[in-house]
């Protein structure tokens, strides 16, 4: 079974590093982008199995990026990451598969990623 490929989109270098180390340890292939523009480039080159997307980013923010991404990709799961729960009421995030509040404890994130990927795999099985 191929390793699942995860694209981490976050403007914070240390966060990207932390996430990539953790996720690599958890058995994923990891790619990283520092903003929406770079993320789109990476996606164009190689489509990931899952995207972790920071909401607050300079330039195009996560939510706007998600809206544009969903216009031509309805299936690739996206996990939104944010510092606080402020965005829970924002209906635009419904376009994402999951929503995770950033924490130094990465267990919730890893659990969410696993769940989302399992779900996604189940949905694509009949094809």
């Amino acid at each position: 079974m191929n390793k699942k490929r995860i694209l981490i989109v976050d403007d914070e270098e240390n966060i990207r590093l932390l996430y990539s180390e953790e996720l690599k340890d958890a058995g994923y292939e990891v790619d990283m982008a520092k903003d929406a523009k770079e993320a789109q480039k990476k996606i164009d080159i190689q489509k990931p199995d899952l995207i972790t997307l920071d909401i607050r980013m300079p330039g195009i923010d996560g939510i706007e990026f998600l809206r544009r991404f969903r216009e031509h990709d309805k299936t690739t799961p996206v996990v939104l990451c944010t510092a606080y729960s402020d965005y829970k009421q924002d209906f635009r995030i419904w376009a994402s598969e999951a929503y995770v509040v950033k924490s130094s404890n990465l267990e919730p994130l890893k659990n969410t990623i696993r769940e989302v990927l399992e779900k996604s795999a189940r949905q694509s099985e009949p094809e």
């Binding site: 914070e12 240390n14 932390l18 510092a83 606080y84 729960s85 924490s103 130094s104 404890n105 990465l106």
Partner: protein, 796 residues
């Protein structure tokens, strides 16, 4: 000239409008000629019918006219009058009744013929002729003189009638004039004076007196004048006749009191005439006029008042009665106006009180103004006053202010000062002038020390009546007091006082006590009425002022809160910056914490390094929670309750701070119930609550004052259906004025901090359906007690 000519002549004379005297002179001359006599004389009875006066003569001395007066007696003239028959005396001196009147010069005459002058069957005088040589008068002579006499009688009558008409005209002119004078005044004294004057001008009398009824309807002498050596001689006579007239309500006319039994015992020897007309208006006797001792032309004889005079007097009495009644009505009107003015004054006091209430901004000033109104002369005018208010929580009636002089001498000085500068606008003046120097007054100090129970067995009878039954009392002496009132009595030191309740919405909120210690004026019904009437708006003013003060206090608090809110607003602008900052903080924290965790999970390093890494991870955790709390406070916080051990949560929080606490010299004492029930709580939130309380306690105990004693103790125990955590510090407690605000969001006494701590604690505990209580011991410390409910199914 023939007889007829003469008679016609006399008829012409008497029919003419000549003066009576001229007419008499002409008649006398004519008669002498007609009868061929040497002299002729005419005498008329005066009004007393006791004297015959020579009115005209021809042949006698001129000086005799009006000088010769023949008192009723035996003389020939009087015989003629008595018998109404002529007397013809050829030799006059042979008649036993005849005697010369020396001043007339009649001794030269020998014979005389006299006839009575008769008018309406009454003899009014005598006319006679005299001759020097002896003459026997024929029947013809007699009949001729009688004819002349009849003519002259008619003429005299006509002249008298004319005189009487003239007199009447004079009297009525006079009466009319006096009536106008009397009606021009409303002064009873003036009416009396004019009445007495007009009466004495129209009717000659030595005594003139006027009685007038006072309000009590008793007649009192208002005017009394008596000419003579003893100016009070006839006073008893007048008094008697006034009684007779006012009882009978009719004029009493007594010709001679010495002959009247009703005047017996008055010790009056002389014959005195007296008349009294009651002054009656609309069947009410309003007074009486008395005239006594009528002045007569013949001083030797007294004469009763004539019916004519009585009529005049009655007319005067009638006019005077009307005038007195009108004056009295006027007086009553004026009294009513005065009363009205009194009412207006009361209204003005009340109005000014309400104005004062608007002007005064505190209860103390208001109470002072109220008592000033009660004590100053232009107000209610009591000597001293005390205002009491009910202290409901203590069940006491407390003296709030006392106003009044400390001594009689002090009283005099104050009232003198007031006389010198009477205030135009009373209340504003009172506001600016502390006339009784209340602040330094002993009486005020006394008043403020008074307190009496308003309920229970010790209540005084008076206070029970005033406060309990809300009735005003007027104590007129020690006899009105009961044993239970002795404390009140001995406090104020005056046996006569009054007390009126201050009632609002059927509740007595206090009372006003007044007395007149210094001038000893009795407290009248009217005073009481005024006091009670005054007490009503005063009570409302006090009630309103209390509400106002409460409102002000609340407003101040609100104002305080507003200041806090301004700060919060400023903070929320800052808050956006903080939120931004928090975001920026969050990412590094995630990195720090994340890598620390990675160290723990991946590193093979030594135990010490692992421990340090865990501390980093733990602290980052706490920082993350703190950041979240701050940003989540205004939002709906959801808690995730799980079965937890409160002891564990408490220990966890204290462990975090054990080094910091010991660094501040604070000793922690843990008294945790080992068998404590498990509870359903969000451990993170409850830990945050404990941490907040620890931080508060640390802050409180860190000031220098509490250097010596810095203890922080934690106690947990199971409590029925839940658990209790007590955290006690020795930080000196919270100041009273701050105490009730400590749970307000953003309230803080700290120079730094958002003030969110305690309000967040409260919110959290409430989200757990628990409660948080504070026991504040000022000067010692604060104990927070947190009660958390147990969950069904997990309690032991």
């Amino acid at each position: 000239m023939s007889d007829n000519d003469h008679i016609l002549h006399i008829g012409r004379i008497s029919g003419s409008r000549l003066h009576l005297q001229t007419m008499l002179d002409q008649v006398v001359e004519s008669a002498e000629k007609q009868l061929g006599a040497d002299a002729c004389a005419l005498l008329l009875l005066d009004e007393s019918k006791q004297t015959l006066t020579l009115k005209s003569s021809h042949g006698l001395w001129r000086s005799a006219v009006d000088a010769v007066r023949l008192p009723r007696g035996k003389g020939v003239s009087w015989r003629i009058v008595r018998e109404k028959r002529p007397a013809a005396l050829a030799r006059a001196k042979d008649d036993p009744d005849f005697h010369f009147v020396p001043e007339s010069g009649e001794e030269s005459y020998t014979s005389m013929l006299g006839v009575p002058i008769i008018e309406e069957d009454e003899c009014i005088g005598v006319i006679y002729v005299q001759s020097k040589k002896e003459t026997r008068y024929s029947d013809e002579d007699i009949s001729r003189l009688e004819k002349i006499s009849r003519q002259v009688a008619g003429a005299i009558k006509a002249a008298w009638d004319m005189d009487r008409i003239k007199e009447k005209a004079r009297v009525y002119t006079k009466l009319n004039g006096s009536s106008r004078l009397i009606n021009a005044t409303n002064d009873i004294e003036e009416i009396v004076r004019i009445t007495a004057n007009v009466a004495s001008e129209l009717i000659g009398a030595k005594v003139k007196a006027v009685w007038v009824a006072d309000i009590d309807e008793k007649l009192k002498v208002k005017h009394f004048s008596e000419s003579g050596s003893d100016p009070e001689l006839l006073r008893p006579v007048c008094e008697t006749v006034v009684t007779l007239a006012t009882v009978s309500r009719e004029t009493v006319n007594v010709a001679d009191i010495s002959a009247d039994t009703r005047f017996e015992g008055l010790d009056i020897i002389a014959a005195v005439s007296v008349v009294c007309c009651p002054m009656i208006f609309e069947e009410q006797v309003v007074g009486a006029i008395v005239l006594a001792d009528r002045i007569t032309e013949s001083p030797n004889y007294f004469v009763a008042f004539t019916s004519e005079e009585i009529h005049i007097l009655a007319a005067i009495a009638q006019t005077a009665a009307q005038a007195v009644d009108r004056a009295r009505t006027h007086q009553q009107l004026e009294e009513a106006l005065e009363k009205n003015e009194q009412n207006v004054r009361e209204l003005s006091i009340l109005f000014q009180l309400s104005m004062a209430m608007r002007r005064t901004l505190n209860l103390e000033d208001l109470l002072r103004v109220i008592l000033s109104c009660v004590t100053v002369g232009r107000g209610l005018g009591f000597n001293r006053a005390i205002l009491f208010l009910v202290d409901e929580s203590a069940g006491l009636l407390r003296g709030m202010i006392g106003m009044g002089p400390d001594s009689a001498e002090h009283a005099g000085r104050i009232w003198n000062d007031l006389e010198e500068q009477p205030p135009e606008d009373l209340v504003p003046w009172l506001l600016d002038h502390d006339i009784f120097e209340v602040k330094n007054s002993q009486f005020n100090r006394l008043a403020r020390s008074l307190k009496f129970p308003v309920a229970g067995a010790d209540i005084g009878a008076i206070i029970s009546k005033v406060i309990g039954q809300k009735v005003a009392v007027n104590i007129e002496g020690a006899g009105d007091l009961e044993q239970s009132d002795m404390e009140l009595l001995s406090a104020i030191g005056c046996e006569r006082f009054a007390m009126a309740p201050l009632v609002v919405r059927d509740t007595a909120l206090g009372a006003i006590l007044v007395d007149n210690l210094y001038n000893s004026n009795p407290i009248s019904g009217a005073d009481m009425e005024l006091l009670t009437r005054f007490a009503a708006p005063a009570a409302w003013a006090i009630e309103n002022m209390k509400l106002f003060e409460k409102w002000v206090a609340e407003s101040e608090e609100r104002l305080d809160l507003e200041k806090q809110m301004v700060r919060v607003e400023r903070m929320s602008t800052l808050g956006e910056v903080y939120a931004e900052l928090a975001h920026e903080l969050k990412n590094p924290l995630v990195s720090i914490g994340g890598f620390a965790r990675r160290l723990i999970s991946t590193s093979k390093s030594d135990k010490t390094s692992l421990k340090y890494a865990s501390i980093i991870a733990g602290e980052v955790d706490r920082l993350e929670t703190l950041l979240r709390n701050v940003l989540d406070l205004s939002k709906d916080v959801s808690i995730k309750r799980q079965e937890n051990d409160l002891n564990f949560v408490v220990r966890d929080a204290v462990d975090f701070y054990s080094r910091i606490l010991s660094g501040h010299g604070i000793k922690t004492h843990m008294d945790l119930d080992p068998d404590i029930d498990k509870v359903l709580i969000d451990a993170a939130w409850i830990k945050q609550v404990v941490i907040n309380l620890i931080l508060n306690a640390m802050e409180a105990m860190s000031c220098e004052r509490h250097q010596a004693l810095r203890n922080l103790s934690f106690t947990t125990q199971s409590r029925g259906s839940g658990v209790t955590l007590r955290i006690s510090d020795t930080g000196g407690g919270i100041a009273d004025e701050d105490f009730h605000k400590i749970f307000n969001p953003f309230f803080t006494t700290k120079s730094q901090g958002t003030g969110l701590g305690l309000s967040l604690c409260k919110k959290m505990v409430q989200l757990h359906h628990g409660s948080i209580e504070i026991d504040n011991k000022l000067g010692h410390g604060v104990t927070f007690t947190i009660n958390l409910p147990g969950a069904p199914g997990i309690s032991s």
